[in-house]
Amino acid sequence: MELRLENFTKRFGDVTVIENMDLTVNSGEMMALLGPSGCGKSTTLFAICGIHKMNGGALYFGDRDVTTVSAQGRSVGVVFQNYALYPHMTAEQNIGFPLKVQRMPKAEIRREVERLADLVQIGNLLDRRPAELSGGQQQRVALARAMIRKPDVLLLDEPLANLDAKLRLEMRSEIRRIQRETGITAILVTHDQVEAMSMCDRIALMRDGKIVQLDTPEQMYRNPQSQFVAGFLGNPPISFLPARADASLTLANGQTIERPPGLEAMGDVVLGIRPEHFGPQHGTGLKGKVVFVEPQGREELVDVRLDGGGDIRSILPAGDPIRPGETVDWGIAPGTILAFGPNGDRL
């Protein structure tokens, strides 16, 4: 079911956390709310599920205006960051609780619980209590409980934050699989850009209570509309170099590079160069000295200090014998330089 936030405003006392935010999540879509800590992701989520009252604006599930409907009256499933399972109930009772509240007959609850348990693959753990389940299994129980009412929307608040690295990878694809299989409309809150990019159809990148860009992961990565977006996405992160644009681009350190095609701006700009676009395979042009090499198994990260100042990062396949202290002359892949104006907007 489509979810629409219009002119959403939220204040805590005198502090306006979110002002006039618009957001539409299409039916069956998984949307990421991504942004740094404190930007208002959870606040938005809690407003959608009805825990926080909205100070302004309207919320629609499909055509239904639910702005003033209580949390109990909205059909929203929520997975909390710490799962919030009921410790005194078994997994089965946990999952069945929303139906028990609706006074559904016991046999029917039982059947539904089994259906959900199959979906999240915990059929053999139903009589355990949360304390007897691993983090990943608790996560699955929480997911099943959130989905058993067949809610209009599923909200996930940092669902992977409490898992270890390997489990995180596993649950990432599990959550995506379950979302796809059920076709439920979902919103994932996260501050991890990898999670957002790998799990979601679209990403709403937030900063200080505003959505700064809403796009598909590929578009947002390749075509960021501001320096903030470019800096937020990508791991290892993009390097920024201040420069002057006239006939060519003159870096602050005096080195020059060719103007990328299509760039019309003149004057002071900031160039953004992603690590995969800088290296020996792209020819020559920028001279500097390797200051740091960080092996990462399959590839290695190389930090280069440019002659005359400025740091730029490169990511290379492992095995190249590069040592700190080495002088290099590497190039930038043509057409990949991103340029930003002094106010951070993309040029």
Binding site: F80, Q81, H88
Partner: protein, 275 residues
């Protein structure tokens, strides 16, 4: 015996300091069922006549022990029930609801808890007199419950504080009303606190002496502590054997409760961290 050598020092020190207590308790038991020769510490033959208060009136002016015990039980259990009931709801409100003046209320609780009861006794006396509750069980139940409440509310608030906020939100999201969330999801998490508070306030009521002594001096409202007091003050027949037997009778429920509910009682001193 593979006890850690370090522990032995502690055990030794503890034994030395608790020996006098242990000796006293041992003689409490022995003297209640034996008649020692005068001036001797060695008990003579077994003599159950000290326990005669159980099957006969020890003198005409006194109510029967069973009625006194019944009074004590009603006093202690009603107090415990009231305190637990009110603390359970008040503690929740203080822990969760954003009400005006909450910090002052919390501060007030601690002050009230630390306040010496005895200084209030005259005022309470006048109030009870005024309400017509003087020398009634109901009167001392209300007073005792009121005095125990700050402690109970504080303890229960501590237990509620350990229940994650998200559990309640999850419950609301699952469609349950606020009351149902409290009753079905939150209350089970604070059960250990509930049990401990119930037991502690029962024991506190069971051993209460000053309130019944001053506020319910009549013989129909006598409780075990005041009954004992009356027995020992009766200097016409100072019978220490009898006194000790009544003391035993009075403390048996306490000992039993401690033995049975040790685990629940320890919870409260853990501050409910394992809530």
């Amino acid at each position: 015996m593979t006890a850690h050598p370090r522990i032995w020092h502690l055990v030794l020190i503890l034994s030395i300091f608790s020996t006098p207590l242990v000796i006293m308790y041992v003689y409490q038991v022995i003297d209640s069922i034996a008649s020692p020769d005068p001036g001797s510490l060695i008990p003579g033959e077994i003599d159950l006549s000290n326990w005669r208060f159980l099957w006969e009136r020890i003198d005409m002016g006194r109510p029967s022990i069973w009625m006194v015990t019944f009074n004590t039980f009603i006093f202690a259990s009603t107090t415990a029930f009231l305190v637990t009931l009110l603390s359970t709801t008040a503690g929740y409100a203080l822990s969760r609801l954003d009400m005006p003046g909450r910090p002052y209320f919390l501060g007030g609780l601690i002050i009230l808890h630390a306040f010496p009861t005895i200084t209030l006794i005259i005022a309470i006396f006048i109030i009870l007199q005024f309400l017509g509750l003087f020398d009634t069980l109901l009167g001392i139940i209300l007073v005792k419950a009121a005095l125990e409440l700050p402690f109970g509310v504080w303890i229960m608030k501590g237990f509620y504080d350990t229940v994650p906020w998200e559990i309640e939100m999850a419950g609301v999201q699952d469609g349950a009303s606020r009351f149902r969330v409290w009753w079905e999801l939150v209350l089970p998490q604070v059960k250990p606190g509930l049990a401990a508070l119930l037991i502690i306030s029962f024991l506190s009521g069971w051993s209460e002496f000053v309130l019944p002594l001053v506020l319910a001096p009549g013989s129909s409202t006598q409780v075990l502590s005041t009954y004992m007091n009356a027995v020992i003050q009766d200097d016409a027949s100072a019978d220490f054997g009898l006194f000790k037997a009544i003391g035993m009778f009075y403390s048996i429920p306490v000992i039993v409760i401690y033995l049975v509910f040790q685990k629940q009682l320890m919870n409260i001193y853990g501050g409910g961290t394992k809530g």
